[in-house]
């Protein structure tokens, strides 16, 4: 399906490019180019670059081509020159030959370049925070001193944010605390790898020995099942050391013997499931229940079985269920924006400066001079003999 789409759109792009080159009317050429740009925007979308597709349409097709059309109209150049031949007759054959050579080279490179064999690099890791730590109203989470999320409320989860891979020290503070000076509530080293999406959870009751950090990782890869999805279940109940996750309908154990503080990943196909949590080995009364969960394909699902303190200091069991799209933020404006404003600030600023300069340049170049330019005659101070002196009009600038 994708291939078909690609072929169609690619074909349209090629045809419109050819027509642009051939057509005699400059306006027609411009319009064909616009069509070409649209096709390319579509291809961008297919390539997981929604932001760029938008920018392409807005800036390129919308602004630049409009400028082109303005100038064409201004100069009255819709009637292009009759022949396509240039002054140099040998030009066309030479160009054709060069084009063929270029194509051949590219083809050779593509075929023998072994791009397919190479493993595509795994996706950038994503990180989010889920707060189920009892005893703290809201948290700040830091990885090596950098804030992942701040002011996360109980039972709340942040969105995925891309992160660099590496080994970090995960530290959880009370919200508002200064990570440099205050003592963290919990500290744990954690490794962030590519191709995974991490959900950082703190479970248990603060002050009690069971409080710990749980790192639940989703693998960002669906090469296994078609229409599959990845599930991670986290046991965040300090009183239940071993639990099972059961599918009620099909009466099968999805995740068995899930220890306290453990997060396990498993794959499922899409569908609607009713899931309940039992203590391992017993099928009497479920600890928690998740009825009628509609699981879609290509999603990341996170189930955190936690408890919440009630006003009368008793705990009820809660389940936090999160579903995220797999190809979540790659290519999204958020992603682009984050990269732009952290790693690539300097080029961004420079390009902005460039735009400014271009604008001024364009204004200056097309500006009609206020004072008519005088004809500057140069006078030679020591003319060699025999050289005529042109009569000076006005000397001086």
């Amino acid at each position: 399906m994708e291939l078909t789409l690609f072929i169609i759109v690619g074909g349209i792009a090629l045809i419109s490019a050819a027509l642009m080159l051939i057509s005699e009317n400059a306006v027609y050429s411009a319009l064909f180019l616009i069509l070409n740009l649209m096709c390319i925007a579509f291809l961008f979308l297919m390539l997981n670059a929604p932001f760029l597709a938008m920018v392409q349409i807005t800036v390129y097709a919308g602004a630049i081509m409009v400028l082109f059309l303005f100038v064409i109209m201004l100069l009255g150049a819709e009637r292009t020159l009759p022949t396509i031949q240039s002054r140099f007759r040998w030009l066309a054959p030479a160009v054709v030959i060069m084009a063929l050579l270029f194509l051949i080279t590219v083809s050779v490179a593509l075929i023998n370049g072994e791009i397919i064999q190479t493993e595509p690099r795994k996706a950038e890791p994503q990180v989010r925070v889920v707060h189920v730590l009892d005893g703290v109203a809201s948290l700040d989470v830091y990885l090596d001193g950098e804030a992942v999320a701040q002011d996360v409320a109980f039972r709340a989860a942040t969105d995925f944010a891309p992160w660099r891979e590496g080994e970090y020290e995960l530290a959880i503070f009370e919200a508002g605390a200064d990570p440099a000076s205050a003592n963290p509530l919990l500290v744990q080293p954690v490794t962030i790898e590519r191709g995974k999406a991490y959900s950082l959870t703190a479970t248990g009751r603060i002050g009690a020995p069971g409080a710990r950090l749980v790192v639940a990782a989703h693998t960002l890869d669906f090469s296994g099942k078609k229409d599959g999805l990845r599930l991670v279940a986290v046991n965040a109940l300090p009183d239940r050391p071993w639990v099972d996750v059961r599918d009620e309908v099909y009466d099968e154990v999805l995740v068995g013997a899930l220890a306290y503080g453990e997060a396990r990943e498993f794959e499922l196909s899409k569908g609607t499931r009713s899931v309940a949590l039992y203590t391992t080995g017993s099928q009497r009364a479920p600890v928690s229940e998740l009825p009628e969960q509609a699981l879609e394909a290509n999603t990341l699902v996170l189930w955190v079985f936690a408890e919440q303190r009630q006003p009368d200091n008793s705990f009820t069991d809660v389940v936090i269920s999160l579903q995220d799209k797999a190809a979540t933020s790659f290519g999204s404006p958020t992603h682009i924006g984050q990269l732009l404003f952290t790693d690539y600030v300097l080029p961004f600023e420079l390009v902005a400066l460039l735009l400014l300069v271009a604008m001024i340049g364009a204004i200056v170049l097309t500006h009609e001079s206020l004072a008519p330019r005088k004809v500057i005659e140069r006078r030679l101070a020591n003319p060699p003999p025999g050289l005529e002196q042109s009569t000076p009009g006005e000397t001086g600038h």
């Binding site: 399906m1 994708e2 291939l3 690609f6 690619g10 792009a13 090629l14 490019a17 642009m20 080159l21 050429s29 180019l33 070409n36 390319i40 291809l43 961008f44 297919m46 390539l47 670059a49 760029l52 392409q56 800036v59 390129y60 602004a63 630049i64 400028l67 082109f68 100069l75 150049a77 292009t80 020159l81 022949t83 396509i84 240039s86 002054r87 160009v95 084009a99 593509l110 791009i115 397919i116 690099r121 996706a123 590519r194 960002l220 890869d221 669906f222 090469s223 290519g331 992603h335 682009i336 990269l339 732009l340 080029p347 735009l355 300069v357 271009a358 340049g361 364009a362 204004i363 170049l365």
Partner: protein, 104 residues
């Protein structure tokens, strides 16, 4: 995410063909504005290749490069068209075969 059906080589091939067409347009056409438009076509072809590879390597830097290219292209178009307008004022023609005052 994950492998798509369309291999990245196809994108690159398409990008190469578009690039070639743009190059031929630059070299063969005599209307200055058409030359410019061919240049834009070449830039777009390059953008396509960049994005394809960005997905292949799952890198956001590719997208950013495309972003910058677009921005620079915009600046360039602005200045270039301003130049063409200025030249047109004096020479009353935009046939590039007539623009050889810088002949060495």
């Amino acid at each position: 995410m994950g492998s798509s059906e369309v291999a990245v080589e196809l994108y690159v091939l398409l990008s190469a063909v578009l690039f070639i067409m743009g190059a031929m347009g630059v070299l063969l056409r005599r209307n200055a504005i058409l030359v410019f438009m061919s240049v834009e076509l070449m830039l777009n072809a390059a953008n396509l290749a960049l994005v394809a590879f960005a997905r292949q390597w799952a890198s956001g830097a590719g997208h950013l490069m495309v972003f910058f290219v677009m921005t620079v292209a915009a600046a360039e178009v602005a200045v270039g068209l301003a130049l063409i307008v200025a030249i047109f004022r004096t020479k009353k023609s935009i046939d590039i075969d007539n623009l050889h005052m810088f002949k060495g």
